[in-house]
Subunit: 420 residues, 2 copies
């Protein structure tokens, strides 16, 4: 077998020298043969999580009953503070955990638009993650605003030049992912924020594909608004509650549209009129799903112990390994890199385009390689540096090479909706 | 001890004859001395729930990883169908589990208002549950609508006459709880719906305090829209995801404001424009918190096995027991009933007013009686017929009598914000 100048023994040596290698033991791995490269979609289960969830269920709910709300009531804020300090580069009191990413995006986008009367345009990448696009479309539609959708390179992300050219005094808001869900293209948060600020516009960042694997310096970059999920590189479980960030000085100037009782000052006074809390909690709405929230603490323990700077360093190396092996092994089989080449401009996942990517993705799962498929014709490979080994990457690419060489995917039926 | 003509032995006899008595064994009871009368706030933990949650965490997430989305993706709809059939009296495809009650209320109220252009008024009980009031205030504020807030009797609920008098051709929407959170007053869903329909208005029901303990016949009553929570009499855990109901014929005529990707047709095609699903799923938004959802199935098993009709029957008897014992024992100590007297007009909880209710509530918890406090000066007692025994009710009232007689509550500090 050709080895791209990098043998499996080389990958084993990288694992042996990996300062984060021991973190893998802190995740549940039931199938040692599985090569899981979908941490960009759903992170693995930390070993500590089942007991943490069970304690909340059995002790806090089962035994403590309603009295445990004294504990739960602060979780959104305390977990938000941990995210602020260790993941987002924000200050205490600027982040809260609540709702889903989509709902949070809606709340903050609406609040920002309300605070920019007279500006009639929202700017967005045409290749933005679907829920972000749909949410913003709805807001523009209901408010009679213009959505300025910018064409961008599917594999390289929205260019700084295209963004700058779209900014003018009519722009109220730019909604943009820090890392593109499809290509993995990484934006320069400070530069985009500054360009928007130069015309008086705000930026709402979706950091879902960056949080926990790319150092985010929201405070330092001047970021005003952000949302993100906790179930990818943060490993808090399927559909775990999301977070939102509002820079401290903005919090009292913004008013969100969903005026729920968790955002109310002196909530249990249950006063007649909505009077939002002074801090970031004003952007919460209803009773949070405590049992799901219980999985976030033990997941953050691991990210905090490893440190996002070290996670980034390993993620870059693993991304480079994916690219090198794909160039050597998969390009001859019809794959084309569909992510930025420069690792400084890429998040932690790498996309590969192939006309038959959907069937290859299905065949890969059958061969013990879990990656995911995204339209059009992309296979996404997402090593997660807390638990993915270099040998996992090597093996996954090797299996992909083998199955495509053998035409295993061609034995599968085509999905009629996904013929390219 | 005086016994209101009803001794503890009488309560024991009621328990012995209770056809639902065995259901108590299907709940976790860690403290046999505790008299828990707060099922109206947070229901007890079913015995089957910890294992069900653990299986989702360990097997579906831990082992199945992202592949388990094939299972999870349908949960909102399948759990909604169970609620429709067994709890809400709705048809399959009319209910979905998603988000929080507050967010669902926002979505459906906004959708209903958008579908009633030219009508400028929303009608609401001044004593409505706070989050409902705040959400509707926000919607009225942002849309320039008039919120017609109706004064109502704190102890008896909004009267049919007051509601009818407030309805005219300007009314777009009435937002009303089926059972009042404070007094427990139960509305006549069919009569209110008909009165609103007579002027061309819609009603959005909040059935949080009714679901699982009052037979709801949403289809038969003509109800068009409803929301509710699952953590009270449905026992799905703290902050468990909520549900929403939209009558089938209305679904395609309404468009909700938070256009998330879970409401999108062919979600993973990730097409350019929002194109909502045809059914009730169009009212969902983002990725649901799966680990929290996992607790709803085993909780519904119990409600379904008992049947809401039988639960209602027992709830009425237990409510009557609360009222009888309160009349005999607590009225002489300064308590006043603060719920409708007629059990046909009352949900499952009973409120008692007392000037020192806040301290009495704290002292009761110390005495092993968990009830809850609501402004102003109300002690709420909420037996939950799946697991509350008649003797629990008897003991709780007996302990309340004893501690207030002894002035135990007067040893506690006053909460300065709650001096009445």
């Amino acid at each position: 077998m050709s080895d791209a100048g990098l043998t499996r023994a080389d990958a084993e040596a990288l694992d042996a020298a990996d300062p984060l290698a021991d973190f893998r033991d802190r995740f549940v791995v039931t199938d040692p043969d599985l090569r899981y490269l979908d941490g960009n979609s759903l992170g693995r289960l930390p070993v500590a999580t089942p007991d943490a969830v069970a304690a909340v269920v059995r002790e806090q709910w089962g035994d403590g009953l309603v009295r445990s709300w004294h504990t739960w009531i602060d979780w959104g804020v305390s977990l938000g503070d941990r995210l602020a300090e260790h993941v987002l580069g924000a200050r205490p009191g600027e982040v809260v955990v609540a709702d889903s990413t989509s709902v949070n995006l809606y709340k903050l986008a609406a609040a920002a638009l309300d605070a920019a009367p007279g500006r009639g345009v929202v700017v967005m990448d045409a290749e933005e993650f679907p829920t972000d696009r749909y949410v913003v479309q709805g807001l523009c539609r209901s408010r009679g605003l213009t959505l300025r959708t910018l064409p961008s390179d599917l594999d390289d992300g929205l260019s700084p030049g295209a963004l700058r050219a779209a900014l003018d005094d009519d722009v109220a808001l730019v909604v943009l992912s820090a890392v593109s869900y499809r290509s993995g293209a990484l934006q320069d948060l400070a530069a985009v924020t500054a360009a928007a600020a130069a015309v008086g516009a705000r930026v709402l960042w979706d950091v879902s594909h960056a949080a926990g694997v790319v150092p985010l310096d929201l405070a330092g970059s001047g970021a005003e608004l952000a949302v993100g999920c906790t179930y990818k590189y943060l490993n808090a479980g399927p559909g775990a509650p999301a977070f939102l960030y509002v820079r401290a000085d903005l919090q009292e100037r913004l008013r969100q549209p969903i005026q729920g009782w968790f955002g109310q000052r002196d909530q249990f006074a249950m006063g007649p009129d909505y009077d939002p809390l002074p801090g970031v909690e004003r952007f919460t709405v209803g009773t949070p799903p405590v049992v799901a929230l219980a999985a976030l603490g033990p997941a953050l323990d691991l990210v905090e112990a490893a440190g996002v700077a070290r996670l980034r360093e390993k993620a870059v190396r693993q991304g480079e390994l994916v690219v090198a092996l794909a160039d050597a092994w998969l390009a001859p089989l019809g794959f084309r890199p569909a992510s930025p080449r420069d690792p400084a401009r890429r998040g932690a996942h790498v996309s590969l385009a192939h006309p038959d990517a959907w069937r290859i993705c299905r065949a890969a799962i059958a061969a013990g390689v879990v990656a995911d498929y995204r339209e059009p014709s992309r296979l996404r490979l997402g090593p997660s540096p807390l638990y993915t080994r270099y040998t996992d990457v090597w093996d996954a690419l090797d299996r992909l090479r083998a199955l495509v060489s053998a035409g295993e995917h061609e034995l599968l039926p085509r999905d009629p909706s996904r013929v390219t």
